[in-house]
Protein backbone atom coordinates (compact mmCIF):
# COMPACT_ATOMS: atom_id res chain seq x y z
CA UNK A 1 0.00 0.00 0.00
CA UNK A 2 1.45 3.32 -1.08
CA UNK A 3 -0.22 5.88 1.20
CA UNK A 4 -1.43 4.85 4.64
CA UNK A 5 -4.13 7.48 4.39
CA UNK A 6 -5.65 6.08 1.23
CA UNK A 7 -7.44 2.86 0.58
CA UNK A 8 -9.13 1.58 -2.56
CA UNK A 9 -11.15 -0.97 -0.61
CA UNK A 10 -13.04 1.44 1.52
CA UNK A 11 -13.41 1.74 5.27
CA UNK A 12 -15.53 0.13 7.89
CA UNK A 13 -17.13 1.91 10.82
CA UNK A 14 -17.56 -0.35 13.81
CA UNK A 15 -19.92 0.95 16.43
CA UNK A 16 -18.71 -0.18 19.82
CA UNK A 17 -20.86 -0.15 22.88
CA UNK A 18 -24.41 -1.44 22.99
CA UNK A 19 -25.35 -0.25 26.47
CA UNK A 20 -25.58 3.49 25.92
CA UNK A 21 -29.09 3.35 24.44
CA UNK A 22 -30.48 1.79 27.61
CA UNK A 23 -29.69 4.93 29.60
CA UNK A 24 -31.60 7.23 27.31
CA UNK A 25 -35.05 8.55 28.04
CA UNK A 26 -37.74 7.84 25.42
CA UNK A 27 -37.49 11.43 24.24
CA UNK A 28 -33.70 11.19 23.86
CA UNK A 29 -34.12 7.90 22.02
CA UNK A 30 -36.47 9.51 19.55
CA UNK A 31 -34.03 12.33 18.95
CA UNK A 32 -31.10 9.91 18.62
CA UNK A 33 -33.14 7.82 16.18
CA UNK A 34 -34.11 10.79 14.04
CA UNK A 35 -30.51 12.03 13.99
CA UNK A 36 -29.19 8.57 13.16
CA UNK A 37 -31.73 8.13 10.32
CA UNK A 38 -30.75 11.43 8.78
CA UNK A 39 -27.05 10.57 9.05
CA UNK A 40 -27.32 7.05 7.66
CA UNK A 41 -29.75 7.95 4.86
CA UNK A 42 -27.53 10.82 3.81
CA UNK A 43 -24.54 8.49 3.50
CA UNK A 44 -26.48 5.82 1.61
CA UNK A 45 -28.05 8.33 -0.74
CA UNK A 46 -24.78 9.82 -1.89
CA UNK A 47 -23.10 6.44 -2.07
CA UNK A 48 -20.56 7.02 0.66
CA UNK A 49 -22.04 4.06 2.53
CA UNK A 50 -23.13 0.88 0.80
CA UNK A 51 -24.17 -1.28 3.71
CA UNK A 52 -24.96 -1.19 7.37
CA UNK A 53 -26.49 -3.50 9.92
CA UNK A 54 -26.98 -3.69 13.62
CA UNK A 55 -25.78 -6.82 15.37
CA UNK A 56 -28.06 -8.61 17.82
CA UNK A 57 -26.77 -9.13 21.32
CA UNK A 58 -27.18 -12.88 21.22
CA UNK A 59 -23.79 -14.49 20.74
CA UNK A 60 -22.14 -17.84 20.56
CA UNK A 61 -18.51 -17.63 21.41
CA UNK A 62 -16.22 -20.49 20.50
CA UNK A 63 -12.75 -21.01 21.93
CA UNK A 64 -10.23 -23.79 22.41
CA UNK A 65 -9.48 -24.46 26.09
CA UNK A 66 -6.48 -26.65 25.41
CA UNK A 67 -8.46 -29.85 25.13
CA UNK A 68 -11.62 -29.08 23.26
CA UNK A 69 -13.61 -26.35 21.58
CA UNK A 70 -16.06 -24.72 23.96
CA UNK A 71 -19.19 -22.85 23.01
CA UNK A 72 -20.51 -20.14 25.22
CA UNK A 73 -23.99 -18.82 24.51
CA UNK A 74 -24.70 -15.44 25.99
CA UNK A 75 -25.96 -11.92 25.51
CA UNK A 76 -23.12 -9.57 24.79
CA UNK A 77 -23.65 -6.20 26.36
CA UNK A 78 -20.68 -4.00 27.07
CA UNK A 79 -18.90 -0.81 26.18
CA UNK A 80 -16.70 -2.69 23.73
CA UNK A 81 -19.32 -4.87 22.10
CA UNK A 82 -19.73 -4.31 18.40
CA UNK A 83 -23.28 -3.07 18.04
CA UNK A 84 -23.27 -2.63 14.30
CA UNK A 85 -21.28 -1.45 11.32
CA UNK A 86 -21.29 0.73 8.22
CA UNK A 87 -19.41 -0.14 5.06
CA UNK A 88 -18.02 3.07 3.54
CA UNK A 89 -16.81 3.57 -0.01
CA UNK A 90 -14.68 6.64 0.66
CA UNK A 91 -11.03 6.38 -0.26
CA UNK A 92 -9.22 8.15 2.53
CA UNK A 93 -8.87 7.63 6.25
CA UNK A 94 -9.56 11.32 6.84
CA UNK A 95 -12.82 11.20 4.94
CA UNK A 96 -13.89 8.12 6.88
CA UNK A 97 -12.97 9.80 10.14
CA UNK A 98 -14.91 12.90 9.18
CA UNK A 99 -17.98 10.75 8.60
CA UNK A 100 -17.48 8.95 11.91
CA UNK A 101 -17.25 12.27 13.68
CA UNK A 102 -20.90 12.93 12.80
CA UNK A 103 -22.16 9.78 14.47
CA UNK A 104 -25.13 10.84 16.66
CA UNK A 105 -24.30 8.11 19.19
CA UNK A 106 -20.98 9.62 20.17
CA UNK A 107 -22.41 12.18 22.57
CA UNK A 108 -24.29 9.40 24.38
CA UNK A 109 -21.23 7.25 24.90
CA UNK A 110 -21.00 5.19 21.75
CA UNK A 111 -17.49 4.64 20.39
CA UNK A 112 -16.81 4.56 16.66
CA UNK A 113 -13.88 2.56 15.35
CA UNK A 114 -12.69 3.39 11.84
CA UNK A 115 -10.83 0.60 10.06
CA UNK A 116 -9.47 0.46 6.54
CA UNK A 117 -10.67 -2.60 4.67
CA UNK A 118 -7.57 -4.48 3.55
CA UNK A 119 -7.11 -5.66 0.00
CA UNK A 120 -8.63 -9.03 -0.71
CA UNK A 121 -6.25 -11.83 0.15
CA UNK A 122 -4.35 -13.59 -2.71
CA UNK A 123 -6.49 -16.73 -2.36
CA UNK A 124 -9.76 -14.89 -3.00
CA UNK A 125 -8.15 -13.06 -5.94
CA UNK A 126 -7.19 -16.43 -7.37
CA UNK A 127 -10.70 -17.78 -6.89
CA UNK A 128 -12.19 -14.72 -8.57
CA UNK A 129 -9.76 -14.98 -11.52
CA UNK A 130 -10.41 -18.71 -11.88
CA UNK A 131 -14.19 -18.42 -11.83
CA UNK A 132 -14.28 -15.54 -14.32
CA UNK A 133 -11.93 -17.46 -16.59
CA UNK A 134 -14.25 -20.46 -16.29
CA UNK A 135 -17.21 -18.26 -17.22
CA UNK A 136 -15.51 -16.99 -20.35
CA UNK A 137 -14.60 -20.35 -21.67
Amino acid sequence: MENENENENGYMLLFRGNEWMKQLSPEEMQKAFEDWMAWFNGLMEDGRAIAGNPLEKEARTLAYDGEKITTDGSYIESKEAVAGYFMLTVKTFDEAEEIARNCPGLKYGSVVEVRPVAAACPMSELVKATSSAAQES
Binding site: M21, L24, S25, E27, Q30, A32, F33, E34, F40, P54
Partner: protein, 409 residues
Protein backbone atom coordinates in the same frame (compact mmCIF):
# COMPACT_ATOMS: atom_id res chain seq x y z
CA UNK B 1 -42.34 10.97 13.49
CA UNK B 2 -44.98 12.48 15.72
CA UNK B 3 -43.55 14.64 18.50
CA UNK B 4 -43.07 12.76 21.77
CA UNK B 5 -44.15 9.51 20.10
CA UNK B 6 -41.65 7.35 22.02
CA UNK B 7 -42.62 9.04 25.27
CA UNK B 8 -46.34 8.50 24.83
CA UNK B 9 -45.87 4.91 23.68
CA UNK B 10 -43.73 4.32 26.72
CA UNK B 11 -46.46 5.56 29.07
CA UNK B 12 -49.16 3.53 27.36
CA UNK B 13 -47.19 0.28 27.38
CA UNK B 14 -45.90 0.68 30.93
CA UNK B 15 -49.50 1.05 32.08
CA UNK B 16 -50.74 -2.07 30.35
CA UNK B 17 -47.73 -4.18 31.26
CA UNK B 18 -48.18 -3.10 34.87
CA UNK B 19 -51.68 -4.52 34.78
CA UNK B 20 -50.34 -7.77 33.36
CA UNK B 21 -47.40 -8.05 35.77
CA UNK B 22 -49.04 -6.52 38.82
CA UNK B 23 -48.24 -3.12 40.37
CA UNK B 24 -45.51 -4.64 42.51
CA UNK B 25 -43.62 -5.25 39.28
CA UNK B 26 -43.89 -1.70 37.98
CA UNK B 27 -40.12 -1.38 37.56
CA UNK B 28 -40.04 -4.58 35.53
CA UNK B 29 -42.74 -3.19 33.24
CA UNK B 30 -40.60 -0.10 32.73
CA UNK B 31 -37.55 -2.22 31.91
CA UNK B 32 -39.45 -4.24 29.32
CA UNK B 33 -40.74 -1.11 27.61
CA UNK B 34 -37.27 0.42 27.67
CA UNK B 35 -35.87 -2.69 25.96
CA UNK B 36 -38.56 -2.51 23.30
CA UNK B 37 -37.75 1.12 22.58
CA UNK B 38 -34.03 0.32 22.40
CA UNK B 39 -34.84 -2.36 19.86
CA UNK B 40 -36.66 0.22 17.76
CA UNK B 41 -33.78 2.64 18.10
CA UNK B 42 -31.24 0.08 16.96
CA UNK B 43 -33.13 -1.51 14.08
CA UNK B 44 -35.31 1.19 12.52
CA UNK B 45 -32.38 3.29 11.25
CA UNK B 46 -31.32 0.36 9.09
CA UNK B 47 -34.70 -1.13 8.21
CA UNK B 48 -36.66 2.10 8.05
CA UNK B 49 -39.59 3.13 10.20
CA UNK B 50 -42.30 0.45 10.05
CA UNK B 51 -45.65 1.41 8.61
CA UNK B 52 -47.29 1.12 12.01
CA UNK B 53 -44.59 2.06 14.51
CA UNK B 54 -46.89 1.69 17.53
CA UNK B 55 -47.85 -1.84 16.54
CA UNK B 56 -44.20 -2.75 15.95
CA UNK B 57 -43.09 -1.55 19.39
CA UNK B 58 -46.13 -3.20 20.99
CA UNK B 59 -45.29 -6.52 19.38
CA UNK B 60 -41.68 -6.35 20.52
CA UNK B 61 -42.74 -5.39 24.05
CA UNK B 62 -45.20 -8.28 24.03
CA UNK B 63 -42.50 -10.72 22.98
CA UNK B 64 -40.03 -9.51 25.60
CA UNK B 65 -42.74 -9.56 28.28
CA UNK B 66 -43.78 -13.12 27.43
CA UNK B 67 -40.19 -14.20 27.61
CA UNK B 68 -39.79 -12.56 31.02
CA UNK B 69 -42.94 -14.19 32.37
CA UNK B 70 -41.84 -17.63 31.25
CA UNK B 71 -38.37 -17.21 32.69
CA UNK B 72 -38.95 -15.57 36.06
CA UNK B 73 -39.93 -17.63 39.08
CA UNK B 74 -42.11 -14.95 40.58
CA UNK B 75 -44.62 -15.35 37.77
CA UNK B 76 -44.84 -19.11 37.92
CA UNK B 77 -48.12 -19.19 39.80
CA UNK B 78 -50.07 -16.75 37.70
CA UNK B 79 -48.27 -17.48 34.45
CA UNK B 80 -51.28 -18.55 32.43
CA UNK B 81 -53.35 -15.55 33.39
CA UNK B 82 -50.56 -13.11 32.65
CA UNK B 83 -49.76 -14.73 29.33
CA UNK B 84 -53.42 -14.50 28.38
CA UNK B 85 -53.43 -10.78 29.14
CA UNK B 86 -50.23 -10.21 27.21
CA UNK B 87 -51.45 -12.09 24.18
CA UNK B 88 -54.80 -10.30 24.15
CA UNK B 89 -55.48 -7.10 22.33
CA UNK B 90 -55.21 -5.18 25.59
CA UNK B 91 -51.69 -4.21 24.65
CA UNK B 92 -52.69 -2.85 21.28
CA UNK B 93 -53.45 0.74 20.79
CA UNK B 94 -56.97 1.59 19.93
CA UNK B 95 -59.98 3.62 20.94
CA UNK B 96 -61.10 2.86 24.45
CA UNK B 97 -64.81 2.23 24.53
CA UNK B 98 -66.52 3.32 27.73
CA UNK B 99 -68.08 -0.13 28.02
CA UNK B 100 -64.69 -1.73 27.84
CA UNK B 101 -64.35 -3.58 31.11
CA UNK B 102 -60.61 -3.48 30.69
CA UNK B 103 -60.78 0.30 30.63
CA UNK B 104 -57.82 2.57 30.45
CA UNK B 105 -54.74 1.22 32.16
CA UNK B 106 -53.21 4.66 32.05
CA UNK B 107 -55.91 5.85 34.43
CA UNK B 108 -55.18 2.95 36.75
CA UNK B 109 -51.53 3.91 36.72
CA UNK B 110 -52.45 7.54 37.36
CA UNK B 111 -54.50 6.61 40.43
CA UNK B 112 -51.70 4.38 41.69
CA UNK B 113 -49.03 7.04 41.26
CA UNK B 114 -51.20 9.71 42.87
CA UNK B 115 -52.17 7.68 45.90
CA UNK B 116 -52.40 9.92 49.01
CA UNK B 117 -49.98 7.72 50.94
CA UNK B 118 -47.19 8.94 48.66
CA UNK B 119 -45.66 12.40 49.29
CA UNK B 120 -46.86 14.94 46.71
CA UNK B 121 -43.51 15.61 45.08
CA UNK B 122 -42.90 11.89 44.81
CA UNK B 123 -46.33 11.42 43.19
CA UNK B 124 -45.48 13.91 40.47
CA UNK B 125 -42.05 12.38 39.89
CA UNK B 126 -43.46 8.86 39.58
CA UNK B 127 -46.25 10.03 37.27
CA UNK B 128 -43.75 11.74 35.01
CA UNK B 129 -41.44 8.74 35.01
CA UNK B 130 -43.93 5.92 34.45
CA UNK B 131 -46.99 7.48 32.87
CA UNK B 132 -45.38 10.25 30.86
CA UNK B 133 -42.16 8.48 29.89
CA UNK B 134 -39.81 11.16 31.22
CA UNK B 135 -36.23 10.30 32.09
CA UNK B 136 -34.75 11.09 35.50
CA UNK B 137 -32.57 13.92 34.13
CA UNK B 138 -35.53 15.41 32.33
CA UNK B 139 -37.54 15.43 35.55
CA UNK B 140 -34.66 16.90 37.55
CA UNK B 141 -34.06 19.65 34.99
CA UNK B 142 -37.77 20.50 35.16
CA UNK B 143 -37.74 20.68 38.97
CA UNK B 144 -34.31 22.24 39.22
CA UNK B 145 -32.88 19.66 41.54
CA UNK B 146 -30.36 16.88 41.24
CA UNK B 147 -30.84 13.50 39.60
CA UNK B 148 -30.12 11.97 42.99
CA UNK B 149 -32.97 13.93 44.58
CA UNK B 150 -35.40 12.74 41.92
CA UNK B 151 -34.20 9.16 42.24
CA UNK B 152 -34.87 9.42 45.95
CA UNK B 153 -38.40 10.65 45.33
CA UNK B 154 -39.02 7.80 42.91
CA UNK B 155 -37.76 5.24 45.39
CA UNK B 156 -39.97 6.75 48.09
CA UNK B 157 -42.97 6.57 45.78
CA UNK B 158 -42.33 2.95 44.87
CA UNK B 159 -41.83 2.01 48.49
CA UNK B 160 -45.04 3.81 49.41
CA UNK B 161 -46.97 1.80 46.86
CA UNK B 162 -45.47 -1.46 48.09
CA UNK B 163 -45.90 -0.76 51.78
CA UNK B 164 -49.46 0.51 51.50
CA UNK B 165 -50.44 -2.32 49.20
CA UNK B 166 -51.79 0.13 46.65
CA UNK B 167 -53.85 -1.70 44.07
CA UNK B 168 -53.86 -1.24 40.33
CA UNK B 169 -57.42 -0.16 39.77
CA UNK B 170 -59.70 2.78 39.31
CA UNK B 171 -61.44 3.44 42.61
CA UNK B 172 -65.19 3.24 42.75
CA UNK B 173 -68.06 4.87 44.57
CA UNK B 174 -67.17 7.05 47.54
CA UNK B 175 -63.50 6.23 47.29
CA UNK B 176 -63.39 7.63 43.78
CA UNK B 177 -64.15 11.19 44.79
CA UNK B 178 -61.47 11.25 47.47
CA UNK B 179 -58.84 9.65 45.31
CA UNK B 180 -59.83 11.90 42.45
CA UNK B 181 -59.03 14.94 44.58
CA UNK B 182 -55.57 13.54 45.19
CA UNK B 183 -55.01 12.98 41.49
CA UNK B 184 -56.21 16.48 40.67
CA UNK B 185 -53.85 18.00 43.25
CA UNK B 186 -50.99 16.15 41.67
CA UNK B 187 -51.90 17.21 38.14
CA UNK B 188 -52.33 20.79 39.36
CA UNK B 189 -48.87 20.68 40.92
CA UNK B 190 -47.46 19.31 37.69
CA UNK B 191 -49.07 22.08 35.67
CA UNK B 192 -47.87 24.81 37.99
CA UNK B 193 -44.35 23.49 37.91
CA UNK B 194 -44.38 23.91 34.18
CA UNK B 195 -46.23 27.19 34.22
CA UNK B 196 -44.16 29.20 36.66
CA UNK B 197 -41.40 31.18 35.08
CA UNK B 198 -38.57 29.80 37.13
CA UNK B 199 -35.04 29.05 35.99
CA UNK B 200 -34.67 26.11 33.75
CA UNK B 201 -35.27 24.72 30.33
CA UNK B 202 -38.28 26.53 28.89
CA UNK B 203 -39.14 23.72 26.51
CA UNK B 204 -39.18 21.09 29.24
CA UNK B 205 -41.42 23.30 31.35
CA UNK B 206 -43.78 23.73 28.44
CA UNK B 207 -43.81 19.93 28.19
CA UNK B 208 -44.95 19.69 31.81
CA UNK B 209 -47.94 21.91 31.09
CA UNK B 210 -48.76 19.89 27.99
CA UNK B 211 -48.53 16.64 29.93
CA UNK B 212 -50.75 17.96 32.70
CA UNK B 213 -53.35 18.98 30.12
CA UNK B 214 -53.05 15.62 28.36
CA UNK B 215 -53.41 13.58 31.55
CA UNK B 216 -56.37 15.65 32.75
CA UNK B 217 -57.88 15.00 29.33
CA UNK B 218 -57.48 11.25 29.84
CA UNK B 219 -59.19 11.61 33.18
CA UNK B 220 -62.13 13.59 31.85
CA UNK B 221 -62.72 10.92 29.23
CA UNK B 222 -63.51 8.35 31.90
CA UNK B 223 -67.18 8.19 32.85
CA UNK B 224 -66.59 8.21 36.62
CA UNK B 225 -64.18 11.12 36.48
CA UNK B 226 -66.19 13.19 34.05
CA UNK B 227 -67.19 15.62 36.82
CA UNK B 228 -67.29 19.43 36.93
CA UNK B 229 -64.14 19.93 39.00
CA UNK B 230 -62.06 17.95 36.53
CA UNK B 231 -63.40 20.13 33.72
CA UNK B 232 -62.61 23.18 35.83
CA UNK B 233 -59.02 22.02 36.29
CA UNK B 234 -58.56 21.35 32.61
CA UNK B 235 -60.15 24.70 31.82
CA UNK B 236 -57.70 26.61 34.00
CA UNK B 237 -54.79 24.66 32.55
CA UNK B 238 -55.80 25.30 28.92
CA UNK B 239 -56.66 28.94 29.47
CA UNK B 240 -53.44 29.72 31.34
CA UNK B 241 -51.28 27.69 28.97
CA UNK B 242 -52.80 29.57 26.03
CA UNK B 243 -50.79 32.61 27.09
CA UNK B 244 -47.40 30.87 27.36
CA UNK B 245 -46.40 31.71 23.82
CA UNK B 246 -46.85 35.43 24.47
CA UNK B 247 -44.99 35.50 27.77
CA UNK B 248 -41.62 36.44 26.34
CA UNK B 249 -40.69 38.87 23.62
CA UNK B 250 -38.39 38.15 20.68
CA UNK B 251 -35.32 38.52 22.89
CA UNK B 252 -36.46 36.18 25.64
CA UNK B 253 -37.44 39.03 27.95
CA UNK B 254 -40.39 38.45 30.20
CA UNK B 255 -43.60 40.32 29.39
CA UNK B 256 -46.32 41.01 31.87
CA UNK B 257 -49.97 40.43 31.07
CA UNK B 258 -50.33 44.13 30.42
CA UNK B 259 -47.68 44.11 27.71
CA UNK B 260 -48.42 40.80 25.99
CA UNK B 261 -49.37 40.61 22.35
CA UNK B 262 -52.74 38.91 22.70
CA UNK B 263 -52.73 37.78 19.09
CA UNK B 264 -50.07 35.33 20.23
CA UNK B 265 -52.41 33.68 22.70
CA UNK B 266 -53.25 30.17 21.51
CA UNK B 267 -56.80 30.34 20.15
CA UNK B 268 -57.17 26.56 20.07
CA UNK B 269 -56.30 26.23 23.75
CA UNK B 270 -58.60 29.11 24.65
CA UNK B 271 -61.45 27.46 22.78
CA UNK B 272 -60.75 24.13 24.46
CA UNK B 273 -60.47 25.84 27.83
CA UNK B 274 -63.77 27.66 27.38
CA UNK B 275 -65.44 24.38 26.42
CA UNK B 276 -64.27 22.77 29.66
CA UNK B 277 -65.16 25.91 31.58
CA UNK B 278 -68.73 25.67 30.33
CA UNK B 279 -68.89 22.01 31.33
CA UNK B 280 -67.49 22.78 34.75
CA UNK B 281 -70.56 24.85 35.47
CA UNK B 282 -72.94 21.94 35.09
CA UNK B 283 -73.20 20.86 38.68
CA UNK B 284 -73.56 22.24 42.14
CA UNK B 285 -69.89 22.20 42.98
CA UNK B 286 -67.70 25.29 43.18
CA UNK B 287 -64.07 24.53 43.82
CA UNK B 288 -60.88 26.58 43.78
CA UNK B 289 -60.28 25.20 40.33
CA UNK B 290 -63.58 26.72 39.21
CA UNK B 291 -62.62 30.13 40.50
CA UNK B 292 -59.16 30.01 38.98
CA UNK B 293 -60.66 28.91 35.66
CA UNK B 294 -63.13 31.78 35.81
CA UNK B 295 -60.31 34.25 36.43
CA UNK B 296 -58.33 32.86 33.52
CA UNK B 297 -61.45 32.98 31.34
CA UNK B 298 -62.00 36.62 32.23
CA UNK B 299 -58.49 37.44 31.05
CA UNK B 300 -58.81 35.39 27.88
CA UNK B 301 -62.07 37.10 27.00
CA UNK B 302 -60.63 40.59 27.21
CA UNK B 303 -59.25 42.10 24.04
CA UNK B 304 -56.70 44.07 26.06
CA UNK B 305 -55.56 44.75 29.58
CA UNK B 306 -57.61 47.91 29.98
CA UNK B 307 -60.93 46.41 28.89
CA UNK B 308 -60.55 43.42 31.23
CA UNK B 309 -63.44 42.92 33.62
CA UNK B 310 -61.45 43.69 36.75
CA UNK B 311 -64.51 43.94 38.98
CA UNK B 312 -65.41 40.36 38.10
CA UNK B 313 -61.84 39.20 38.65
CA UNK B 314 -61.72 40.97 42.00
CA UNK B 315 -64.92 39.32 43.17
CA UNK B 316 -63.55 35.96 42.05
CA UNK B 317 -60.41 36.56 44.10
CA UNK B 318 -62.57 37.59 47.05
CA UNK B 319 -64.31 34.23 46.80
CA UNK B 320 -61.03 32.41 46.32
CA UNK B 321 -59.61 34.05 49.44
CA UNK B 322 -62.48 32.52 51.40
CA UNK B 323 -61.57 29.05 50.20
CA UNK B 324 -57.82 29.35 50.32
CA UNK B 325 -55.46 30.85 52.86
CA UNK B 326 -52.64 30.99 50.35
CA UNK B 327 -50.80 34.33 50.42
CA UNK B 328 -50.47 34.06 46.65
CA UNK B 329 -54.21 34.57 46.40
CA UNK B 330 -53.92 37.77 48.46
CA UNK B 331 -51.06 38.88 46.26
CA UNK B 332 -52.90 38.26 43.00
CA UNK B 333 -56.03 39.84 44.45
CA UNK B 334 -54.02 42.98 45.17
CA UNK B 335 -53.22 43.35 41.48
CA UNK B 336 -56.93 43.19 40.62
CA UNK B 337 -57.75 45.48 43.55
CA UNK B 338 -55.36 48.09 42.18
CA UNK B 339 -57.22 48.09 38.88
CA UNK B 340 -60.59 48.57 40.57
CA UNK B 341 -59.86 50.74 43.64
CA UNK B 342 -56.36 52.10 43.00
CA UNK B 343 -52.83 51.24 44.16
CA UNK B 344 -53.14 52.71 47.66
CA UNK B 345 -55.95 50.32 48.62
CA UNK B 346 -54.07 47.46 47.02
CA UNK B 347 -50.94 48.25 48.99
CA UNK B 348 -52.90 48.31 52.21
CA UNK B 349 -54.29 44.84 51.48
CA UNK B 350 -50.75 43.50 51.41
CA UNK B 351 -49.84 44.69 54.91
CA UNK B 352 -50.63 41.40 56.57
CA UNK B 353 -48.39 39.47 54.23
CA UNK B 354 -45.14 40.71 55.72
CA UNK B 355 -43.50 37.92 57.61
CA UNK B 356 -45.69 35.19 56.14
CA UNK B 357 -43.48 32.12 56.08
CA UNK B 358 -44.71 30.90 52.70
CA UNK B 359 -43.47 34.09 51.06
CA UNK B 360 -40.02 34.00 52.64
CA UNK B 361 -37.42 34.56 49.97
CA UNK B 362 -40.15 35.05 47.39
CA UNK B 363 -39.58 38.16 45.33
CA UNK B 364 -43.12 38.69 44.05
CA UNK B 365 -44.42 40.43 47.18
CA UNK B 366 -41.81 43.16 46.89
CA UNK B 367 -42.26 43.31 43.13
CA UNK B 368 -46.00 43.91 43.44
CA UNK B 369 -45.49 46.47 46.24
CA UNK B 370 -42.90 48.26 44.10
CA UNK B 371 -45.37 48.60 41.26
CA UNK B 372 -48.02 50.00 43.57
CA UNK B 373 -45.57 52.56 45.00
CA UNK B 374 -44.55 53.48 41.45
CA UNK B 375 -48.15 54.03 40.41
CA UNK B 376 -48.62 56.28 43.43
CA UNK B 377 -45.62 58.30 42.32
CA UNK B 378 -43.56 57.34 45.38
CA UNK B 379 -40.21 56.82 43.66
CA UNK B 380 -38.07 56.17 46.72
CA UNK B 381 -40.28 53.48 48.20
CA UNK B 382 -40.72 51.94 44.74
CA UNK B 383 -36.96 51.87 44.17
CA UNK B 384 -36.19 50.17 47.46
CA UNK B 385 -39.00 47.63 46.95
CA UNK B 386 -37.71 46.86 43.47
CA UNK B 387 -34.21 46.42 44.88
CA UNK B 388 -35.45 43.98 47.52
CA UNK B 389 -37.24 42.04 44.80
CA UNK B 390 -34.14 42.04 42.58
CA UNK B 391 -32.03 40.72 45.45
CA UNK B 392 -34.48 37.91 46.12
CA UNK B 393 -35.16 36.99 42.55
CA UNK B 394 -33.56 33.78 41.32
CA UNK B 395 -34.72 33.86 37.73
CA UNK B 396 -32.58 35.68 35.18
CA UNK B 397 -35.39 36.84 32.93
CA UNK B 398 -37.45 38.09 35.85
CA UNK B 399 -34.51 39.84 37.48
CA UNK B 400 -33.69 41.61 34.22
CA UNK B 401 -37.30 42.68 34.02
CA UNK B 402 -37.25 44.10 37.56
CA UNK B 403 -33.98 45.93 36.93
CA UNK B 404 -35.53 47.58 33.90
CA UNK B 405 -38.62 48.53 35.93
CA UNK B 406 -36.44 50.11 38.61
CA UNK B 407 -34.37 51.95 36.02
CA UNK B 408 -37.45 53.44 34.41
CA UNK B 409 -38.70 55.02 37.62
Amino acid sequence: MVEHFFRHESGRLVATLTRAFGIENLTLAEDVVQDALVKALTTWPYQGVPRNPAAWITQVARRIALDVVRRKKRFQEKQDKIIATLESSALDEGPISPDDEIGDDRLRLMFACCHPVIPMEAQVALTLKTLCGFGVSEISSAFLCSDAAISKRLTRARQGIRQAGVGFCIPEGEELSERLDAVLSSLYLLFNEGYKASQGNRLVKRDLCDEAIRLTGLLVGFPGADVPKVHALRALMCLNASRLGARTDGMGQLLRLRDQDRSKWDARLISLGMKHFAMSGQGGELTEYHLQAAIAAAHCRASDYVSTNWELILSLYDHLAELSSSPLVVLNRAVALAEVRGPEVALKSLENLDGRKELEGYHLLDAVKAEMWARMGCREEAASSFQRAIDLCGVDSERTFLIRQKASL
